[in-house]
Amino acid sequence: MTKTTRRTALTGFAAGLLALTALTGASFAQSTTLTYLIPSGADGVAVAEELVKSFEAANPDINIEIETRPGGSEGDNLVKTRLATSSMADVFRYNSGSLFQAINPQQFLVDLTNEPWQADVQDSFKQVVTASDGTVRGAPMGAAMGGGIYYNKAIYAELGLTVPKTWAEFMANNEKIKAAGKVAVVQTYGDTWTSQLFVLADYYNVSAAEPDFAANYTAGTAKFATDKVAQRGFDKLQETFDAGYFNEDFGAAKYDDGLRMVASGEGAHYPMLTFATTAIVASYPDLIDNVGFFAQPGDDAAKNGLTVWMPDGIYIPNTTSNLDAAKKFVAYVASVEGCEAQTRAGGASGPYLINGCTLPADVPPAVTDMLPYFADGGQNGPALEFLSPIKGPALEQITVEVGSGIRPAADGAALYDEDVRKQAQQLGLPGW
């Protein structure tokens, strides 16, 4: 008898749960709420929450719900899936540049060219969110990033070193650091993407010497292996390996280890993009004042400049049912109040691309070190991936090989040209 009652109870429980699924499904339809999709990660979420909070204070009739998604290629798939199935959030954050082109902006995104706030957006950003028909479809979200080299100020002070302006000075510094028994250059091939920095961050030096490299590269006439200036990025990686400057565990260390090493003084230099400043502040707040930053030096001190990565954009899919509210939110993000909200939440990691936005006085030294490159008389230029649609997918594997001494630099450059050729053919570019 008890067995039957128990079974009845179980059946009832299951039926109840099934009924509950039907109920939970029904309670979502809301009309005045915007959804805002961002990549996950505590830092990005904090910035989005602060933006939403101050926007809602200014617009009490609009309510914004933040959704998160994974980053990396899983995130790319998710964004493409949701765009293709018309289920995208009302506003979403996504990469600018070549990944922006890959989501087919003309077909899926609302044209924002004629919004009044576009007047204050810097042209360098507009060009990386412009669809192939010449319309601007996004607004900048976040600060510009530089690709260069983090250095430990304590080690520099202890050994009496100065920030290098040329590659020769940089190598001389490394020699002194190594002689003092310290790790000169931190490399972290446990996260393969970190290995590309010496090559990618060298692009300002390439463009300073050959201003039309990007155009020729896209056209298929300039190659890394045949252009001595372009090949320098691979050479530099090989030189630092050959000189034995790397940390002992460079093959297994991770990005997080690299940040720790340069912040704590276990290593003197770490080539990285400046978004890492935010991560160092979060993980090692006591050590942030030890961390400085300089652009990857070229061969000529007079042409020293910074390779710049553009921040993400925020976009509105044309399937949104709340277009006016979504446009209001985008306009808010692209305003001076928007920059201030971002700084309040995440701290400043670099200059914003909105005219009139300023940084507070107490930013970390790594950010201050970056500002001269953006000021009058400073020199900076976008990274190659913002100037040309071609970036070979295997670059990180090739740079791991070169940086581990498995393959010489010239070979690596030639192999990368081969990798790039496949990518260009896939994109259907003429001349390949």
Partner: protein
């Protein structure tokens, strides 16, 4: 001496399973006790200071108590899907095994196709949108049921073959209708394979990440595996919070299994001894 001779293999087995199961688990627990700076080292070390409670509070309250919503959603999803899978696949297995028709070959082909063909995401979403089920929990329940059915049917069909047909016939002679034969005679006899099925499918569905990610967008719809992404991104990961979250979402299934341990083992061995 004979003690060593008799038990050394068991001792090795115990040591190996401890290495495989307990070390990763203790790593998770240790990480959950650390503060952010120490956790960032990702090493096997004793925590400095006691941060478990603050980690738990932060994990649970993050994103407006998302973890609680996620637990409710995951529980509903797992229980509802597993219930449906068990009932439906036992029925299909029973009919397929007992009634030979000319369609059997075709049906078996379709079941195998369900096992072998990878499901495509975008057309499935279109179908769900057409049915008005996209982004709803019961839509995802149906998807999980569909993805788990082929394997469960195969399990049931093989097991039902070992139940003598005479039992059904005796029941029919005693006046049982078809549903009585299934629910009162056959289904209770299937308990061993049902337990196996429940264990396998509920672990798979509770741990499912990609299906909820694609088919169930929205904060209100988060499942527990999706909450892991609150603390993890490409460029900045809070390992202490991530591992606290892992510990928290590992504990409920663990408790369930401890609770039902005896029934699960009993169910599985009941099947084993019979053969």
């Amino acid at each position: 001496m004979s003690f060593v001779r008799n038990y050394w293999l068991s001792a090795v087995a115990i040591v190996v399973s401890a290495v495989v199961f307990l070390i990763p688990f203790s790593f998770i627990i240790l990480m959950a006790f650390k503060d952010k700076t120490q956790a960032q080292l990702l090493d096997f070390s004793w925590p400095q200071g006691m941060h478990l409670w603050s980690n738990i509070v932060e994990v649970v309250t993050t994103r407006n108590w998302m973890l609680l919503t996620a637990f409710i959603n995951s529980t509903i999803l797992t229980v509802a899907s597993v219930t449906l899978v068990v009932i439906l696949s036992a029925m299909v297995g029973f009919v397929l095994q007992r009634r030979k028709t000319k369609f059997n070959g075709l049906i078996e082909f379709l079941i195998l196709a369900g096992l072998m063909l990878p499901p495509a995401v975008v057309p499935t979403i279109w179908l769900l949108q057409g049915l008005g089920l996209f982004g709803k929990l019961h839509g995802l329940v149906l998807i999980e049921v569909a993805y788990s059915l082929p394997f469960s049917i195969l399990l049931y069909r093989a097991f039902i073959a070992t139940i003598p047909r005479e039992l059904d016939e005796a029941a029919i002679i005693d006046g049982a209708r078809p549903f009585d034969v299934f629910f009162r005679i056959v289904l209770p006899l299937l308990w061993p394979v049902t337990v196996t099925n429940i264990v396998v499918q509920s672990v798979a569905i509770f741990n499912d990440f990609t299906n909820p990610l694609y088919y169930l967008p929205g904060n209100a719809n988060a499942t527990v595996q999706l909450t892991l992404y609150n603390f993890q991104s490409q460029f900045s990961t809070s390992y202490n919070l991530l591992f606290t979250n892992i510990a928290l979402i590992t504990i409920p299934p663990l408790i369930v299994f401890l609770f039902f341990n005896r029934q699960i083992v009993a169910g599985m061995t009941a099947g084993a001894v019979k053969g």
